[in-house]
Amino acid sequence: MKRDLLLFIAFALLIMVAPHFFHGGYLMNVLVFVGINTMLAIALNLLLGYAGQISLGHAGFFGLGAYISGVLTTTYALNPWSAMPLAALVVGCLAYLIGFPILKLKGHYLAMATLGLGIIIYIVFNETVDLTGGPSGLSGIPNLEVAGVVFDSDVKNYYLIWGVTLAVMLFSLNLANSRIGRALRAVHDSEVAAQVLGVNSRVLKVQIFALSAVISSLAGSLYAHTMTFVSPASFGFNFSIEVLTMVVIGGLGSIYGSFLGAALLTLLPEFLRGANDYDIIIYGALLMIMVMFMPGGLVRGIPALYRKIFKQKGEGDNA
């Protein structure tokens, strides 16, 4: 337990000093996105990696957070600090209500149902033009502000986003190592055995679905307030898949893996400039390769690969 805490502190320190090496360059902006995507990947990972329940509609919850925050602070001139929790509350309640029927479904059916849910939300963003501005988006969303300091630069946003991301990480790490986290993993491995031991899997799955949606919504609100502009294109089916790819690449059931996956998939397109349109091909190929050859994700696959190479080398030396 001590070791887990030390690891987290080391990680947090690394994140906090990172900006000094980039001197607020363009990369800072990308790193802000790494933070937002890390939150989303963790949210989906709690559901998929821990409880074993897939969702292909998480971009919808992300979008709802962003739009509810956006509309409340522009059209209704609400303070962002009140809009964000309000958005999280609305999204959480929605997910909780829809969670009961949707999580009765398993495997492929759950995947299709959540996908359908995500697309319905996406269509609503596009069609409720009076409210959301439709396909052309919603602009003029205010930045967050604390005691007169407006979060309007990349560096300030970096600390804001990563502050929240680190909190979400710690929150999720605690959860994973608690009776709830164990119960979730138990449901994943054998739902019937978990039930026999007194775990109410039905309620637990819905709770974690709602929590996952709330974290996604929070990420969405923060996205809206840092970007000051949102449009439906950011919240489509492809983005749900992108988040799924992050989780799978990083490693199902690993919080740090989610960071790894999010960082890799957010930075990758930056290094592949010019190949912009084709990053979706890379996601597809990565998803397939990971599931086939490294189903535990990078977080487990790399140490395993290292051991394998190291061991083979050792045996070779002996011979």
Partner: protein, 251 residues
């Protein structure tokens, strides 16, 4: 302690259980035996809330528990093990037993995520309790192993430890000796007696006659979905119907 009455189960026109009734006394070790296809496992699945029977009632300590889901039954101190052990393969041995303490702890999702002070002490209590049951079943040295990598016999012990962690007053075991060698079976017999000594009522479905005759106080015999006989091991061994049923079967 436990009373089943008139349990009938029909699967798509096939009657798997036909009006089975019996009662189990507190503190007894009761064996449910019968040739293959007698409906023993189906009966277990009904009692423990995994299947819903076509007709009949289950009463636990005077309370009608018919149709209650397994997680409710766990809170009423009834727990079971499975024929093909259902471990949480990705978790450690200790964590498996810690899941067994789920009903004995109460921290909610948010409290756990925020690591409230009381969750820390509760976590310690869960860990200590789980370790105690690992020691009771004699696998404490495996606490940090991954459950999925255990040999079958140890897995069986883990499943029992995990069930005991729930703090049951009655444990149902579905073929606990299946897949065990004779030495392990012997140890299992000792373990089941020690469980009974904790004032826990034990019900087991078993094929190993030697084990059943050795440890059971009472035996219920099922055949083709019906109760054939009920009595002490001695009475059962001498019952002509039972002998006929077993001789008619190659088992």
């Amino acid at each position: 302690m436990l009373e089943v009455s008139g349990i009938t189960q029909i699967f798509g026109g096939v009657t798997a259980l036909d009006s089975v009734s019996f009662s189990i006394a507190k503190g007894d070790i009761t064996g449910v035996i019968g040739p293959n296809g007698a409906g023993k496992t189906t009966l277990f699945n009904i009692i423990t809330g995994i299947y819903h029977q076509t007709a009949g009632t289950v009463t636990l300590e005077g309370k009608d528990v018919t149709g209650l889901p397994p997680e409710r039954l766990a809170r009423l101190a009834m727990v079971r093990t499975f024929q093909n052990i259902e471990l949480f393969g990705g978790m450690t041995v200790l964590e498996n037993v810690m899941v067994g303490m789920h009903t004995k702890s109460s921290s909610g999702l948010l409290a756990c995520a925020l690591k409230m002070p009381w969750t820390v002490s509760e976590e310690r209590r869960i860990r200590d309790g789980a370790l105690k049951w690992l020691e009771f079943t004699g696998i404490a040295d495996l606490a940090d192993h991954t459950a999925g990598s255990l040999p079958f016999g140890k897995g069986r012990l883990l499943e029992i430890a995990r069930a005991l962690a729930v703090g049951p007053r009655i444990v149902l075991m579905d073929e606990p000796a299946a897949g065990l060698n004779s030495q392990e079976t012997l140890a299992l017999a000792g373990l089941i007696k020690r469980i009974r000594d904790l004032d826990i009522t034990v019900v087991l479905v078993e094929h190993d006659m030697e084990l059943v005759m050795d440890i059971c106080d009472r035996i219920v015999v099922l055949n083709l979905g019906k109760k054939l006989a009920e009595g002490t091991p001695r009475q059962i061994q001498e019952s002509p119907e039972v002998i006929a049923a077993y001789l008619g079967d190659d088992d």
